[in-house]
């Protein structure tokens, strides 16, 4: 049973974590997420006491974004690296340094997870384009990013095939290590061949659809929706307090002198008392239905907007919103 368990865990090993569709951050603007990740990475520079506080706040953020278990798994994968670093720093320098270095690595891992588990390479490409990266490079970057997991799969396939025919045997002891390194060509050569081949196929596919066209006009345009402002503001100066509004105790976030009530009311389609504005989740970039930008207009018109974080709609899968089953909030 334990080997069975191990095997399943090994199967979950992916270079980049899978997308977490249920996360509210999944629909946030990629630029905001990029800024958020950068901001969080900078927090790594804080001294020990504040790093610990930042880590706690940060865990709260990850929990809200449904990413805590995933981030924990990613950190757990690094346990040996962390342990060795911790021991080395402690022995060679001090316990304090050991702690702070470990905390920093944990935070960076979490930040990476936060970005990658909620953003597709396509969305990241839009963010890079907005940052005035040349289209060619932004596009190549997104393709490379997409290929990371494919690379992992291919590597597993090569490993299996070479093991099956006895062309690759992992070195059994220290003396066999050198021979083992030399035998690595049995894995690296096919890996290079497969990667080159795939890259070429993609190149052809891109050019066959006019990749080099000077007339290209971007279709998707990033638009900051309600949640994005919230995240940006929250990053600038979060002040979390509670207020009684409607029938329940609701957390309020104040930024830029305005207050927002966050209400996680579960199912979106149901009508409940209070304002009925969708938080804008799923609106951004959804140019097939611009009239759905209710969240955005709500932001423009009101100082006190009740945000309902629609979790259920994402739990129903990415196709649900597309099929016209967009959350019913705007009808309210």
């Amino acid at each position: 049973m334990s080997t069975e368990h191990k095997r399943r865990r090994r199967r979950e090993h992916r270079t980049t974590p899978a997308l977490v569709e249920s996360s509210p951050l999944r629909r946030a603007d990629p630029r905001v997420k990029l800024a958020l990740s950068l901001g969080l990475s900078l927090a790594v520079m804080l001294p020990l006491a504040q790093v610990a506080t930042a880590l706690a706040l940060y865990a709260l953020l990850l929990w809200w974004a449904h990413l805590l278990p995933l981030a924990a798994r990613q950190v757990w994968r690094l346990k040996w690296v962390l342990l060795v670093l911790f021991a080395a720093d402690w022995l060679l320098v001090s316990l304090e340094l050991a702690t702070i270095v470990s905390l920093r690595i944990i935070m960076l891992t979490g930040t990476f997870t936060l970005l990658v588990a909620t953003t597709t390479p396509d969305e990241l490409r839009l963010a890079f384009e907005w940052l005035r990266f040349p289209y060619r490079y932004a596009f190549s970057l997104s393709l490379a990013f997409q290929s990371l997991n494919l690379l992992e799969q291919e590597w597993q396939a090569i490993l299996e095939a070479q093991r099956a025919r006895g062309a690759w045997v992992p070195p059994q002891n220290w003396r066999a290590l050198w021979q083992g390194l030399r035998n690595l060509t049995a894995l690296t050569v096919p890996a290079i061949v497969l990667t080159t081949r795939r890259a070429w196929a993609l190149t052809e596919a891109a050019y066959a659809r006019g990749f080099d066209s000077p007339r290209r006009q971007a279709y998707r345009q990033l638009q900051l929706a309600g949640l994005d402002w919230l995240l940006l503001g929250g990053e600038a100066k979060p002040e979390i307090s509670h207020t009684a509004r409607g029938q329940a105790e609701l957390p309020v976030i104040s930024t830029f002198g305005r207050s927002y009530v966050i209400k996680d009311s579960g199912h979106c389609g149901s009508r409940s008392a209070g304002a009925h504005y969708c938080c804008g989740i799923g609106d951004r970039g959804a140019a097939q239905a611009p009239e759905r930008h209710t969240g955005f207009t709500a932001w423009q018109h009101s100082n006190h907007v009740q945000w309902r974080i629609c979790r259920r709609i994402h739990a129903r899968g990415p196709g649900a919103a597309a099929a016209g089953e967009f959350c019913g909030c705007r009808r309210g």
Binding site: D122, A161, R165, G210
Partner: protein, 472 residues
């Protein structure tokens, strides 16, 4: 949309090509295709079909550094003189492997990529996007990752991503080679619809059984200048004989990521038999082979005379295992005391004698598949071999050679188990196992199993004849 005048949309005049590195060449070809016409370009593997397809769409000479002679005109543009992006607006190209041409992370974005490059206004892109999603039945898949789609859906998406750009010519490179029966029927119907709307279609394909359903199909046969025609000589069985044995599989179940891929399979196979496992893409064929090879953790029993079987597994893609500097080194890699006699037999049986000193990566796809097979057979697995989709994308010459080899091994008492969705190949086996959704739904001699139309349909084994017959 287009006026049906007789002038050709696509014209090639004595177009010939020589690749830069390895000296493969395409001999001069001339052709003309008018609006609404369908042309099939046939020929054995390595005859230059894919090269010609790339010449016709302008990918050659723009992306390749070899030497091109002759000229190709798309509408009134000569390909060598026109930037690739202008050509791509007039001639669409669908590549052989649908999975390898996906550029985006959702179906929608995949389509938008091509539309953006046309420089269209956003409103126009939105309209075309909806049109093409509806036309190709992709609306329900619009937010899905293209890599998570089935082979047939991916092929539809690849076609849609070209058609949304409204080219005048569509060139397809072996579009049927990766598809099972249902997906092939889908694609044929889509192509017939496009031809009726006035699209000029050129398909490079060595399997004509589906293309023949297109109205007014013309064919152009290419002959290869380099590879000599296959000689159908009988193959002597290997020297060692294996005593009769039986492989017993009882209660075999495989779970993967909490879904059951194979459900409680029971079957027997005997030494001296060629068994074909047939089913649509994703039915669990490869998983079954991996379980038999001991590469897949599974519940249940797989035994040969009380012990676990020793079956060599040959994987679908030979590129995952070829890495040595020559065919000889590849076959003999890590074999302490090679059996010279067996080696010589392998070379002649698989038609690799001429290539002993050739680097494996310079071989054709079919030859690479045979070399991968040789590397497994050289280890002389006791009970036989497992072949995963050995015929996928291969021409008849390769298939007949493969069958003769399988027969020779079976004559020596070994067992050959292969997976396929190629009906012609399956019909040549001694026994068929029809697999659908992880269950064996029919088992027996090919003649008996293929009688069972309902089971065949469930296993995705639609054939053009049957479909055409049903519609008439």
């Amino acid at each position: 949309m287009k006026n049906a005048n007789s002038t050709a949309i696509l014209r090639a005049q004595e177009v010939a090509y020589r690749y830069a590195g390895n000296g493969h060449t395409l001999p001069p070809v001339s052709l003309e295709v008018a609006a609404g016409a369908c042309l099939a370009i046939t020929g054995a593997s390595g005859c230059g079909k894919s090269t010609l397809a790339r010449c016709l769409t302008g990918l050659i000479p723009h992306l390749y550094r070899g030497e091109m002679n002759g000229a190709v005109w798309i509408e009134d543009l000569r390909t060598a003189m026109t930037p690739l992006w202008q050509l791509s607006e007039r001639a669409g190209m669908v590549f052989q492997n649908p999975a390898a041409q996906m550029l985006a992370t959702t179906t929608e974005n995949e389509l938008i990529f091509g539309l953006e490059n046309l420089g269209l206004a956003r409103a126009e892109i939105a309209t075309r996007l909806e049109d093409v999603l509806a036309q190709f039945g992709l609306a329900a898949l619009r937010k899905r990752d293209p890599r998570s789609l089935s082979g047939g859906e991916q092929q539809r998406l690849a076609l849609a991503s070209m058609m949304s750009r409204r080219p005048a010519v569509l060139v397809l490179d072996e579009p049927f080679s990766m598809l099972d029966g249902d997906a092939a029927a889908d694609l044929t119907a889509a192509l017939a619809g496009l031809a009726a709307q006035g699209m000029a279609i050129v398909a490079c394909e060595h399997r004509l059984e589906w293309l023949e359903l297109l109205p007014g199909l013309r064919t152009l046969h290419l002959t290869s200048p380099t590879t000599p025609p296959e000689t159908a000589r009988a193959m002597p069985p290997p020297a060692q004989k294996r005593a009769p044995f039986t492989l017993e599989v009882r209660g075999l179940s495989v779970r993967r990521d909490d879904t059951e891929v194979l459900h409680n399979l029971d079957f027997c196979a005997h030494g001296g038999e060629v068994v074909a496992i047939v089913g649509r893409n994703g039915a669990g064929k490869t998983t079954l082979l991996r379980a038999l090879a001991g590469l897949q953790r599974a519940e249940g029993e797989i035994v040969v005379g009380g012990e676990s079987p020793d079956l060599g597994m040959v994987f679908q893609n030979p590129d995952v295992q070829l890495f040595n500097a020559s065919v000889r080194e590849e076959i003999l890699y890590r074999i302490a005391t090679p059996d010279r006699e067996h080696y010589a037999w392998l070379l002649s049986a698989l038609g690799l004698e001429r290539y002993e000193d050739t680097p494996p990566l310079l071989l054709s796809e079919g030859e690479k598949k045979r070399l991968a097979l040789a590397t497994v057979l050289m280890r002389q697995p006791r009970d036989g071999i497992l072949l995963d989709e050995p015929a996928l994308g291969q021409d008849d010459g390769h298939k007949s050679r493969l069958l003769r080899l399988a027969r020779a091994l079976a004559d020596a008492g070994q067992m050959v188990i292969l997976t396929t969705h190629d009906l012609a190949l399956a019909a040549q086996a001694d026994r068929l196992l029809l697999l659908a959704d992880g269950h064996i739904i029919a088992e027996g001699t090919p003649a008996a199993v293929l009688e069972d139309t309902d089971a065949c349909r469930r296993a995705g084994m639609r054939t053009p004849e049957r479909r055409a017959g049903g519609e008439r």
